[in-house]
């Protein structure tokens, strides 16, 4: 199993090594986002004084952390789409590679992509805005992991849609996660949402992660309740996504969709 996962990881690393546009794409958007929101935060801090500076810091932290979810999701879905674009899925699915191993490899690729993609943005945040994402301490690592896992189960849902609707559903790979953003409470507290929308937001791990992040930045405390809620919801959504993936993969094998998934 480990060797097959390594084989797929090697396949993607070899591809990135030979394609600078793909490498550039990994870091381009997080860096651009950091520049835009970073300058916006600096402006707010300068115009309104120290109390707002902390809020502006939360904004920069939100941008960086939300990128983890977005990059995590894109890492898996783009990895899967790469196999469709290269017409290689047929070879993979008739090899001893299990679908779970393929996903495991894509998750590792996604983790590497996310780390590489966020590195320039993290450095920019520190150099230009004196913002240190690691300042709250090791607890940030727990938030990172939760957001990455959320990105993975969203990706599993998108890959399931690709099995069901073929490459025609490709546009969803780029847009679905952005659609979740209003409910993720990245840039504002949960209380800022209308009352009727709050239960929906609370069903997502992201809302709890960002509530926890704001607590860590504003009051220098770790809200373990929010962390536990986020972790529990992640486990629940991940289990659901795995179930949907298994079902759609089986259906694709019944319909013959694996033979024409690129269409």
């Amino acid at each position: 199993m480990i060797r097959r996962i390594w084989g797929m990881l090697y396949r993607h690393l070899a591809m990135y090594r030979r394609s600078w546009p793909r490498l550039a794409e990994i870091a381009y958007w997080p860096t651009l986002n950091m520049l835009i929101w970073g300058f916006t935060s600096s402006y707010i801090a300068q115009a309104h004084g120290a109390p707002r500076a902390v809020a502006a810091g939360a904004l920069i932290g939100g941008v960086l952390l939300w990128e983890i979810m977005l990059r995590g999701q894109l890492g898996v879905t783009i990895g899967f789409l790469e196999e469709i674009w290269s017409r290689n899925l047929g070879h993979l699915f008739v090899s001893p590679l299990r679908p779970g191993e393929l996903l495991g490899a894509l998750m590792l690729v996604s983790a590497v992509r996310t780390a590489l993609g966020l590195l320039p943005a993290t450095i920019i945040a520190y150099l230009l805005y004196r913002y240190d994402i690691f300042a709250p301490g090791p607890v940030m690592l727990l938030f990172f992991i939760n957001l990455l896992v959320m990105g993975w189960w969203v990706a599993l849902g998108i890959v399931s849609l690709l099995f069901r609707y073929g490459a025609g559903a490709e546009a969803l790979a780029w847009t679905i996660a952005f659609g979740i953003t209003p409910l993720a409470c990245v840039y504002y507290p949960l209380a800022a949402l209308p009352a009727w929308l709050q239960p929906l937001a609370q069903a997502l791990p992201a809302a709890h992660i960002f509530e926890g992040l704001r607590a860590a930045l504003l009051t220098h405390t770790t809200d373990w309740r929010q962390f536990a809620l986020a972790t529990g919801l992640n486990a629940l959504w991940a289990a659901l996504a795995i179930g949907v993936f298994a079902l759609e993969f089986r259906r694709a094998r019944v319909r013959g969709a694996l033979l024409a998934i690129g269409e």
């Binding site: 097959r4 084989g7 070899a14 790469e82 047929g90 008739v94 090899s95 590679l97 094998r253 019944v254």
Partner: protein, 242 residues
């Protein structure tokens, strides 16, 4: 133990019966040709043998493994090549073979790749991106990938498509030698009737999802009173009774 045993295999789509109760077996060391016009059910049958497609009814056993319950054990011992499925274009030939070597858990991978490179005249192409190769070179790489795990069963879809006559003849020689040396079974779907006559011990003639005739090429040629398999194929394809 047969390399392939197919019993009453059916694939039904909402508006089509793609494969209609076919049964056959392929013994180790034998080459079986799967022949038929477009839409005859060849691709569907191969997809079911590979586990890409779930049959509507019937049973497939590959190398003693029931494909409905234990397909990964069978997939590790077989391999497949088709010019209609590509390898990642950005990766070099060597990198592609490394990837599949890992997927098939090939021991002494570097040595195996060197052997295949020599066998398929790929040594000078190993560092070239797969996407920059000619169609014939790609076919040779695909065949090298198909032999990387020294499979006991090889499924080949048009293995010499896009190859010039000289290279095509060479590849047919490699396949014959591989079958002889490894005792491997080969299932071959081809529209090249000369290739079928040369390689196949038996052929299945498919039409609208059914097996309409079967036997060794020489026997079929004699039975239909034709000169070669090309004429037998045309007779069966155009015959309304079959």
């Amino acid at each position: 133990m047969d390399a392939i045993r197919v019993e009453n295999l059916v694939k039904r789509y909402p508006h089509t019966l793609a494969v209609d109760h076919i049964s056959f077996a392929l013994a180790p060391g034998q080459i079986l040709g799967l022949l038929g016009g477009n839409g005859a059910g060849k691709t569907t049958t191969i997809a079911m043998l590979l586990g890409l497609l779930v049959p509507s009814a019937g049973r497939i056993t590959v190398l003693g493994h029931d494909m409905a319950r234990d397909r990964f054990a069978a997939l590790a011992r077989m391999n497949f090549s088709s010019p209609y499925i590509a390898l990642p274009a950005r990766l070099s030939v060597y990198e592609n073979l490394v990837v599949y070597g890992h997927l098939y858990n090939v021991p002494n991978l570097k040595r195996r790749i060197a052997e295949l490179a020599e066998q398929f005249h790929l040594t000078t192409l190993l560092n070239r991106p797969a996407g920059e190769l000619s169609a014939g070179q790609k076919t040779r790489v695909a065949l090298a990938k198909a032999l990387i795990n020294q499979p006991e069963l090889l499924l080949l879809d048009e293995p010499t498509a896009s190859l010039d006559p000289d290279t095509g003849d060479y590849v047919r020689g490699v396949l014959e030698e591989y079958r002889r040396a490894r005792g491997a079974a080969i299932l071959l779907a081809s529209h090249n009737m000369g290739e079928v006559e040369r390689l196949c011990d038996n052929v299945l003639m498919l039409k609208t999802g059914r097996i309409v005739d079967r036997g060794p090429p020489a026997e079929l040629i004699a039975r239909y009173g034709r000169e070669d398999m090309e004429q037998v194929f045309l007779h069966i394809a155009r015959s309304a009774e079959l």
